[in-house]
């Protein structure tokens, strides 16, 4: 306990410096903005802003990028409630009950519930990270190459098991991502691989270029498929504060949502999206007012927004302690660390405590910003929604193009972004999700390195992965995860869960 307080004090010292406070503020402000704007997600935004953070200290960069992520979760729920237009995929469920409430003239209460739930969940999740991260990092410190390799296998498998869509295609996207990640110079032999003789590719393709292509450009093309313009704002905001009756109804859902979200966020492949969907489904089942769900039940907002925010935050745990990304946003965070010259993994906490604890504390500070910032500013956010998409996407394209250009002042990065955009759109049309590709892309070179070291250690015997207990346990867990999805019963409920 004493140690945790000392750690949090370290974090406060970092997070509460004027510089970091302003980057935290900027992060949540930008996050809310992209959360409100449909068609621009946190992945594309973070990729776009990464080049600009190169000159910042590592902790300021991470604090700002993290703020964009959880700020976007928050902003997404605002538009979901007010105009039935979820700005983020994870706030789809918030619209189910939030918008009916708004239609009943209770938009203010719905927004306040979302704010209160998010803030409570964010506070709890901050402490969950503070308690769970150090022991997890301590375990990870004893890991050697075989354990790391198996951990990455487990992380990748778990992330596709929990994602939606075809398992086989997701697996294909992971492997393709791993292969693309190997483009560039092989660290051990020094030979240049898959560069087609282009010197610009000898350092590999910057992952920001890949992320911007498959998440930014491809997404724009997909949005252009069909888009009626004009958004009708249906709800006026009346009273904000929930009544005593409302309070009574939201306390238990917020607690349940926070617990479920914190848990699901830690799992590889988890995070905000899964957490909010699961919390809604659970709440619908346990609530005595289950029949009112979908017609404006306040419980149907309280639970998923809490789970959403808790999950968004606890998904930092595997990223910060193990160096394993559980979703594309965390993959970008790992990329940001690598750019800053920090090797992701358990050593971050030991060698860079100010970075680790600063980011953790900044999340709580950021949630406070969101609370005081957003309720008064809702009117402004809603007005932003009237920006038509035909103005928005050229702006995104310009910032993306200039952004990749500034990475290393190489024009080839712009061409590659267009290439990955086209490829990403093609894959989306074939129901191949781009997220596993990005996770594989980040982990490719690390996996090769750990495989190489593990096999050197065992003199070429692959049994090393099964004779070391921790490594074997992780591989068995990965196999079990794969097996369960293949069982027909689980498959049916999994499909159902994502339809709901």
């Amino acid at each position: 306990m004493q140690e945790i307080l000392a750690n949090l004090a370290t974090g406060c010292a970092t997070a509460l410096s004027t510089l970091n406070l302003s980057y935290c503020f900027l992060g949540v402000l930008l996050g809310t903005l992209v959360g409100v704007l449909p068609g621009l997600g946190p992945v594309a935004t973070i990729a776009m802003l990464l080049p600009a953070t190169l000159t910042l200290p590592a902790e300021s960069a991470l604090i700002m990028l993290a703020g964009i992520y959880y700020g976007a979760q928050y902003g997404g729920s605002t538009t979901a409630i007010l105009i039935n237009l979820p700005g983020e995929s994870s706030s789809v469920v918030t619209a189910l009950d939030g918008h009916p409430m708004a239609r009943q003239g209770r938009a203010g209460v719905a927004l306040a519930t979302a704010a209160i739930g998010s803030f409570f969940a964010g506070t709890v999740a901050t402490f969950v990270i503070a308690f769970l991260a150090p022991p997890l990092a301590n375990v990870a410190l004893s890991f050697q190459a075989p354990e790391y390799f198996s951990l990455m296998v487990l992380g990748l498998i778990a992330s596709i098991v929990l994602a939606q869509g075809s398992l086989l295609k997701a697996l294909g996207m992971v492997v393709l991502g791993l292969l693309l990640g190997l483009i560039g110079t092989d660290v051990t032999s020094g030979s240049r691989r898959f560069t087609f003789g282009l010197p610009a590719l000898s350092d590999g393709i910057n992952f920001v270029v890949v992320a911007m292509g498959v998440f930014g450009v491809a997404e724009i093309v997909r949005n252009l498929e069909d888009r009626g313009s004009g958004v009708a704002i249906t709800a006026a905001i009346s009273r904000l504060l929930p009544s005593r009756e409302d309070w009574r109804r939201i306390v238990a859902p917020i607690l349940r949502g926070t617990a479920l979200g914190s848990l699901l966020g830690i799992l590889p492949g988890g995070g905000a999206l899964l957490a909010s969907f699961a919390a809604y489904a659970v709440e619908k089942r346990v609530s005595r007012r289950g029949a009112e769900f979908g017609k404006g039940a306040i419980e149907g907002i309280a639970a998923p927004v809490s789970a959403n925010n808790a999950g968004a935050q606890t998904s930092f745990i595997p990223m910060l302690t193990l160096g394993i990304p559980s979703n594309p946003v965390m993959a970008l965070m790992i990329g940001a660390l690598i750019i800053q010259g920090i090797r992701p993994g358990p050593n971050v906490m030991v060698e860079q405590p100010q970075l680790f604890w600063g980011v953790v504390v900044s999340m709580w500070v950021g949630n406070l910003f969101l609370l005081v910032l957003n309720l008064p500013l809702i009117g402004l956010w809603v007005r932003l929604l009237s920006i038509p998409y035909q103005w928005l996407y050229p702006i995104i394209l310009v910032f993306s193009a200039v952004g990749v250009l500034s990475l290393s002042n190489a024009v080839i990065d712009v061409y590659l972004m267009a290439l990955f955009g086209a490829l990403g759109y093609l894959f989306v049309k074939l129901d191949c999700e781009p997220a596993p590709l990005l996770l594989g892309y980040i982990l490719g070179p690390m996996m090769e390195e750990y495989l190489r070291r593990a096999l050197t250690l065992s003199r070429g015997d692959p049994m090393i992965f099964l004779t070391r207990p921790l490594s074997a346990a992780m591989l068995i867990a990965a196999a079990l995860a794969l097996a369960t999805v293949l069982l027909p019963a689980v498959r049916a409920t999994r499909a159902k869960a994502f339809v709901e």
């Binding site: 086989l168 294909g172 030979s191 691989r193 093309v221 997909r222 888009r227 074939l430 090769e448």
Partner: protein, 149 residues
């Protein structure tokens, strides 16, 4: 017999093609052994896995039916890609401002609500913004317009 699932068939084909491509390209590097992995070892291993996944996905297309691929926004894809490519082509010789206006003008045409004049106004506005922020503010080493650095 019903028509094969087009999405699975094409996705499987793509995986297969990428697998073959990486496998063949990696032939040029030393393979090494498990004990001393050469630069070709891991890529060829992965390429084999990818080929297997691709084959399985293609085979599944003939077993399980599925929806057709659906409308393909070819016009949007071509215009957006062309805009980005042209940005890259012109930014060094033509300058940031020229490249930005071209990108905005071409990409905007992909929208159904496209009108030329507002698109050009947006392009010029963004060009000015980029010149001030990225060229003069952040010192991006590209000219503003051709000779004007």
């Amino acid at each position: 017999m019903h028509r094969p699932n087009a999405k699975d068939l094409l996705a499987g084909g793509l995986f297969l093609a990428f697998g073959v491509l990486f496998f063949v390209l990696a032939q040029g590097y030393p393979l090494g052994s498990a004990r001393r992995m050469g630069p070709a070892y891991f890529p060829q291993l992965l390429a084999l896995v990818l080929m297997a996944i691709g084959a399985a996905t293609s085979l599944r297309a003939f077993i399980a039916p599925g929806p057709p691929i659906g409308s393909f926004a070819l016009k949007a894809l071509v215009l957006v890609s062309a805009g980005v490519l042209l940005f890259g082509l012109t930014v060094e010789a033509g300058g940031l401002a020229v490249a930005t206006v071209l990108l905005v003008a071409i990409a905007s045409a992909a929208s159904q609500q496209f009108r030329p004049l507002p698109a050009i106004v947006l392009g010029v506005g963004l060009a000015a913004f980029c010149a001030v922020v990225f060229r003069f503010g952040l010192g991006l080493p590209f000219p503003v317009i051709g000779f004007w650095r």
